[in-house]
């Protein structure tokens, strides 16, 4: 389904230490370039092997996803979850799922069930429990806002 494809609005050049400047068409929307060696052939998902990313790179990628104007596709989400598994970081996986859910905005009720449907099998494989099971679809604890102290 192409309903949730990221909107490629403009050509963006992104500087990277190892790979140099690369345009959108090579890397994909909001290109995240890695310090690790990148495969030159294949689809851009295979080129950017998110599953082998380090913890630092994964967090940078998730911050990009939060800043980007769109909901990531299920293929990307699966790769990032595999990357979290490889880095032995469970909290990061839940945080990423929260980000993906909230990127839907007003259309959260339409996008989130579709995404859960697509990534459900991999989540069961890896052993990640859904946000509803964790109870993180509603606020769990109350924290006083700094501006109100």
């Amino acid at each position: 389904m192409n309903k949730l494809r990221n909107i490629e609005i403009s050509f963006v050049f992104h500087s990277a230490a190892a790979a140099g400047l690369r345009p959108y068409s090579e890397t994909g929307p909001r290109p995240h370039t890695s310090l690790y060696p990148v495969v030159s052939e294949g689809t851009w998902l295979e080129k950017n092997n998110y599953a082998q990313f380090d913890g630092w790179e994964l967090r940078q990628l998730i911050n990009f996803v939060a800043a980007d104007d769109g909901v990531p596709e299920p293929e990307i989400i699966i790769e990032v979850l595999k990357g979290c598994r490889n880095n032995n970081d469970y909290a990061l996986a839940t945080r990423f799922l929260e980000v993906v859910r909230l990127k839907g905005g007003n259309k959260m009720s339409e996008t989130w069930p579709y995404i859960m449907q697509e990534i459900g099998p991999t989540m069961q494989e890896l052993g990640i429990s859904t946000l509803k099971e964790m109870g993180y679809e509603e606020p769990e604890l109350w924290l006083e806002n700094v501006d109100d102290m």
Binding site: L35, D54, G55, W56, L58, R59, Q60, I62, N63, A66, A67, R85, N88, D89, Y90, A91, L92, T94, R95, F96, E98, V99, L102, L126, G127, I128, S129, E133, M134, Y136, E137, E138, P139, E140, L141, W142, L143, E144, N145, D148
Partner: protein, 212 residues
């Protein structure tokens, strides 16, 4: 897997700290999940013994939707958390729900839903304003009416009596107002007028009707 060493490029926030305070080293006991990472000793006076996990020149912790993954974890590592981290390296299906929640709260202070949750501050604002308005009304009613200096002269009975005498003589509001409530043949107010009187004004009304 050893992380790549990236030396901090500029010690902006640390220069004064390093000069004034004595040098501190990182934690002495290396617990699992708390091994060596770049910047551990340099930033320990700023962030304590919390693990640096991401980009950020001055690694502070923030909770926000725009930067969901901050540069450091939230909590320091205890023995129990160290054991959990060892467990995390195995199969995640063996983690219980409590383990998962403690792992999350160790890395992050609040969930993104809690960041979005409303604070209910508007109730405090309206309540404070209501209290102040009540105090103001109290002050006006007590101070404003206690001192005869602050009493407007149009409120006194003398003024009102003279006013009613004038109005009745001029026959103002003959249809729905004061002249319609006054019986000009018998020179007294009609019985309906008694609804709006108090003890004092009824005295003045009697004197008026006697005068006429």
């Amino acid at each position: 897997k050893q992380p790549i060493w990236v030396a901090p490029s500029r010690n902006i926030a640390l220069t004064s700290v390093n000069r004034d305070a004595p040098a501190t080293t990182g934690s002495k006991a290396v617990l699992p999940g708390h091994e060596y990472y770049p910047g551990k000793e340099e930033y320990s006076p700023v962030i304590g013994h919390r693990e640096i996990v991401g980009h950020g020149e001055i690694p502070y912790y923030t909770d926000s939707f725009t930067v969901p993954c901050p540069a450091i974890r939230f909590r320091e590592v205890d023995e129990a958390l160290g054991k959990l981290r060892e467990k995390e390296k195995g199969d995640w299906k063996l983690l219980s729900l409590e383990d998962k929640k403690t792992l999350y709260r160790a890395s992050f202070n609040s969930t993104l839903e809690e960041v979005r949750a409303p604070s209910g501050d508007w109730k405090r604002c309206i309540g404070d304003n209501a209290i102040l308005m009540a105090l103001m009304f109290l002050g006006v009613s007590v101070i404003g009416f206690a001192d005869p200096q602050y009493e407007p002269k149009t409120v006194t009975n003398e003024w009102v009596d003279a006013q009613t005498e004038y109005l009745i003589k001029r026959r103002v509001q003959p249809v729905d107002g004061i002249a319609s409530w006054y019986d000009y043949e018998n020179n007294k107010f009609k019985p309906t007028w008694s609804i709006f009187t108090t003890k004092e004004t009824s005295k003045s009304v009697k004197t008026l009707s006697e005068k006429e």
